[in-house]
């Protein structure tokens, strides 16, 4: 019997982010246009494992997914134990730019989901020239807060269980059980308070309504794709955002929720393929 070994390669890179020395884990596969993938709040780069193994993609793109500091196999920086983790817009942008610079990526495409879908809007606004194209999955300029996030990190409620249970409703009912539970497992494994800390960026520090002027989608195409079952970043949120950015292209994805790449990779492929083809042919 021959074991199946996936073509993904994982490594660590040491990156300085806002004065913090960070040991960042990343996985990559493929050659060609760099495609940098950003995971959702409280999860890690494993969400992109299917894309990393898709030869239709990796034959044209160098797909790279990194675990943000505090996530997955990337440790928090020194002294993390002395303060609560709170992701800010400034730190998020600095993290992405520092990682891209460390790997010497030449005008990468950035594809982010959820908080990653939000931050690509800020990248388009403030640093668009650095990127070949930007893809926001489940992204919008703002979503109204709809629950008390303090329940995500307190000693009398199991953090992993509650984070997974909370996001379980954001997965489309059509998504295969195998991938539904794999997606939830990542939430169960997240560090204490990290999902909540990411949501600080989402809820408190990144209301981008009215702040996205100057985005040049002719230079840096912007694609926004949102699953119809996502009630956190709803299709209406995404479509409203797209209408405010001349040239932004928005698609509502059928039978998908908040985690398209990990909850149902086959269904997601139907939607991401034409986007990646357009980028490759530009």
């Amino acid at each position: 019997m021959t074991a199946t070994i996936e073509p993904i390669v994982g490594r660590y890179v040491h990156v300085n982010i806002m004065g913090d020395a960070c040991r960042v884990y990343f996985e990559e596969c493929g050659q060609g246009i760099p495609l940098l993938c950003l995971h959702t709040a409280g999860s890690d780069g494993r969400q992109f494992r299917h894309l990393l193994c898709d030869e239709d993609v990796t034959s044209k793109f160098r797909v790279i997914a990194f675990d943000m500091p505090w996530h997955g196999k990337s440790y928090p920086p020194l002294g993390y134990q002395d303060k609560d983790y709170e992701l800010t817009t400034e730190r998020y942008v600095a993290t992405i730019r520092a990682f891209a610079a460390a790997l010497e990526l030449d005008r990468p495409v950035v594809m982010g989901c959820s908080i990653g879908g939000r931050i690509v809007l800020q990248l388009a606004h403030a640093h668009g020239e650095e990127f070949r194209a930007l893809i926001g999955l489940e992204g919008a300029d703002h979503q109204p807060p709809w629950y008390d996030t303090s329940w995500l990190n307190r000693p009398d409620v199991h953090g992993g269980e509650v984070c997974a249970a909370l996001v379980s409703g954001l997965i489309a009912p059509q998504s295969p059980d195998e991938y539904r539970h794999e997606t939830l497992w990542q939430y169960k494994q997240s560090g204490p308070g990290i999902f909540r800390g990411d949501l600080y960026f989402y809820r408190v520090d990144s209301d981008l309504r009215g702040k996205l002027d100057g985005i040049d989608t002719r230079r840096t195409p912007l694609f926004l794709l949102t699953g119809e079952y996502d009630f956190s970043c709803s299709p209406e949120d995404t479509l409203r955002t797209a209408r405010s950015i001349p040239g932004a292209q928005a698609v509502v994805m059928k039978e998908l929720g908040h985690f398209p790449m990990s909850e149902n990779p086959r269904q997601f492929k139907k939607y991401i393929t034409p986007v990646l083809q357009a980028i490759a042919q530009a």
């Binding site: 008390d148 269980e161 509650v162 249970a165 379980s168 954001l170 079952y229 009630f231």
Partner: protein, 128 residues
């Protein structure tokens, strides 16, 4: 004859108790949960993850750990075999204003997936 919403709600008791894995996951929960299906109130008694009765009649001012109210439309939509977007989860319904969850939020969040699975149990039972 098509099952009424009340009958579908009542089916939670045998469906949950027959699901040993679900009962096991709820083993640390003992609670009284008032559930309103439209205008019809029920008291759902949970003991160690098992459903120990769904009572149609309960005394006035009976205490409940949680009160979950939703329109008939919301319950019917939630229990469709493949529910529509925005009608497929307790929090989706809450966010759209079709459901209200009040009471001791600790009970809800400490046992969130168990309670979601209990209240969605009729989804797995095909309507006759």
């Amino acid at each position: 004859m098509k099952e009424s919403l009340e009958e579908r709600f009542a089916s939670i008791e045998p469906l949950v108790n027959a699901n040993r894995r679900l009962v096991h996951r709820g083993r640390y929960l003992t609670a009284s949960i008032k559930v309103c299906v439209g205008d019809s109130p029920f008291m759902l008694e949970i003991r160690g993850g098992e459903i120990h009765g769904i009572h149609r009649q309960s005394p006035l001012f009976a205490s409940a750990d949680l009160v979950i109210q939703a329109t008939e439309e919301a319950w019917a939509a939630l229990w469709e075999p493949c529910p529509r977007p925005g009608w497929h989860d307790l929090f989706a319904l809450t966010k759209r204003g079709a459901m209200r969850i009040e009471g001791n939020s600790h009970v809800l969040f400490a046992h969130l997936q168990y309670l979601k699975d209990v209240l969605c149990a009729p989804r797995r039972r095909p309507a006759p």
